[in-house]
Subunit: 138 residues, 2 copies
């Protein structure tokens, strides 16, 4: 994803080997890795990269809007490179598998004014839970 690296450089990011490998790990659209999973894969390419740097870099990418944080379970946050197209998530309650889903309709329009209590509603996050075909057949 030289696209991403170019955009980041354009924003004044100092390009280091560490940031490059983190961006490489997140390349591809259908992953939802935890910080430690990102770290493990980054170590494969750059053995001396530290946990703190991975956390820092992920946080920066989130601030820049290049990746999203998703919290589908109560364990670790997951980092989602699919920040371009709005979507929600379908999670297997047994194995934790995550799929991107695109429900029809807008949940925001389903929240009437009388149910907004004066809040300025900005965003909505929908998480579907169920059992994936793999777990169902086991």
């Amino acid at each position: 994803m030289s696209d991403l690296l170019e955009r980041l450089r354009g924003r004044g990011w100092r390009m280091t080997a560490q940031r490059r490998v983190v961006a490489e790990v997140l390349d591809g659209d259908h992953v939802h890795l935890t910080a430690d999973e990102v770290h493990a894969r980054a170590v494969g390419k750059l053995p001396e990269i530290s946990r703190a740097t991975v956390y820092n870099t992920l946080g920066e990418l989130v601030s820049l809007g290049e990746i999203l944080e998703v919290s589908t379970d109560r364990r670790a946050k997951r980092y989602d490179p699919n920040a371009h197209r709005p979507h929600h998530h379908l999670v297997c309650a047994q194995c934790g598998a995550i799929r991107d889903v695109h429900p029809t309709g807008d949940p925001l329009t389903d929240l009437p004014d009388s149910e907004r209590f004066g809040f300025t509603v900005q965003d909505v996050e929908v998480t579907y839970r169920g059992v994936c075909p793999n777990c169902a057949s086991a």
Copy 2:
């Protein structure tokens, strides 16, 4: 909520002073307390109650379906005594205030078969985020 205590006793719950105070703390419908907040309030009524017991009791109440776990932020789980009426949550991004909301429509029907990937979808959790009137006026 002697209702709750009666129901629990009926299910063979051994009634201890600790369980009673935890149930008392959760009495009332519009609270979403963390385990440590429940513990702090329980200590006010029964100073020697331990953290482990509060965690155990909350876990049991969740298993029994008497309260719900909600994860509106990535910090601590919150415990919701409003397990009777299905609802979702509206959270202030600034102060963390939480309101129960009842959107119209069913998000489950908004997820077409083609977006289910063979999953058996069981449940959906919707979290609205925004700014509460209090924070907006500050």
